[in-house]
Assembly symmetry: C2
Homo-oligomer: 246 residues x 2
């Protein structure tokens, strides 16, 4: 039977999602728990995609195959009792054997959280990027309109990325300000390596008046990482939701 899980994790203490030798990763913690539950039999999990060190997830999705016949509503409790307290399985359902968390993902939503207060809030230090500068939200919204749509996002991904096709579609970018917090939400059909963090870094420069909204099309057209803004830190980023058909 194939099980699809929605998992939340606090990325602070992880070297990212994917297994790496001698590093604490989300994947290795979950696979260790499944190993125990399956009495020593290794179970590999497949996620919708990787997340980097310090990056959080509210709705990461993974699947695995099992011979255990646990009712779907019991899976979260069975796994959470074996998982460390910075990973939590929120939901599990049985799916068809051909379901794939990565290949069947239609849309992904990422959020990036910034706090602009002059003095850092200790309770946000691992969960929001502290950026204590004035930002013009309207200018950032205007710039984000140029980023939406189908484009070659070469300028917005790590230069050494191996992926050949850098064309992606961003369906929407929402920017919400509440008090001194600014939350960016991106929904797209997929995102390149570091793409959300470079998009935010570029939008912050627009918000500060360092570049104009109207300069964005040339950055996209240039297909050169050197044309876009800085990569903002991982700890403000959340894999918020992965959308599937149904």
């Amino acid at each position: 039977m194939r099980v699809k899980c929605i998992v939340s994790y606090d990325g602070t203490q992880f070297s990212g999602y994917q297994v790496q030798p001698n590093k604490r990763t989300v994947q290795s913690e979950i696979e260790n728990s499944l190993l125990k539950l399956h009495k020593g039999q290794a179970v590999k999990i497949y996620a919708s995609g990787r997340t980097d060190a310090q990056v959080h997830a509210l709705g990461q999705v993974f699947h695995f195959d099992t011979h255990l016949t646990i009712p779907k509503e019991k899976w979260p409790y069975a796994l959470n009792s074996l998982l460390p307290d910075d990973i939590s399985i929120k939901e599990a359902v049985y799916v068809d054997d051909d379901f794939h968390s990565r290949f069947h993902a239609l849309k992904k939503e990422y959020r990036y959280q910034i706090n602009t207060a002059k003095i850092q809030d200790v309770f946000k230090r691992h969960y929001m990027y502290h950026f204590p500068y004035h930002l013009d939200v309207d200018l950032m919204r205007k710039a984000s309109q140029y980023l939406c749509g189908t484009h070659d996002f070469t300028s917005f991904c790590v230069a050494k990325t191996e992926v050949e096709d850098k064309v992606r579609t961003i369906f929407s970018i929402d920017i919400v300000k509440k008090d001194s917090d600014i939350i960016f939400s991106f929904i797209g059909n997929g995102f390149l390596y570091n793409m959300v963090r470079i998009l935010v870094g570029t939008l912050l420069e627009v918000g500060q008046g360092i570049r104009t909204p109207e300069s964005i099309p040339a950055v996209i057209k240039g297909r050169d990482r050197g044309l876009s803004g800085k990569t903002v830190p991982g700890h403000g980023l959340y894999l918020w939701k992965v959308y599937y058909d149904n």
Copy 2:
């Protein structure tokens, strides 16, 4: 010159406020920063009161004396640049030489945060007590009315407390529910050792129907720690604000 500071800290990684040998404490971190700022001269700080291990603060207050003539608005930056990132000085003002953070405190506000969701939210695990049970908020509000006022709170403090006078006044107890979170706010003229955590533990038993609101007066009158509820964990507790006459 005497300086009064408002400080916020994330209690997760501290063995409490007060200096203890070989332990990481809030007081020792702040005194170490002041030592550096005063080029090796020890500066002792005096807080409004202690907080326990894992207990947080939004508005703890302390004072100290200094010969440095730093403008008041620069003090937070000077200290925060030397402090670890789980302590943040939010405000500093110069006060009269007879001001005392502890003796002049008129009222204190503590908050206790609970999350009642069935599955623990990883982002709340250090900041709210996970209590996944149904709670009747109206019953807890009714019980809290019996706790407000001036009483001998012997039943609500650690049995071995050395303080002679256990009479305190609680001005208000507010209980707010938002989604699966419940926030208790206590304002009083002072609180005994573990008092807020025992008050909350007792209110939770009322909310679960284990004891009635009407049973509270007898618990107070009994002056016996054995009559009240459990002590809830420190990580849900916040020293929210200290009130002074000014």
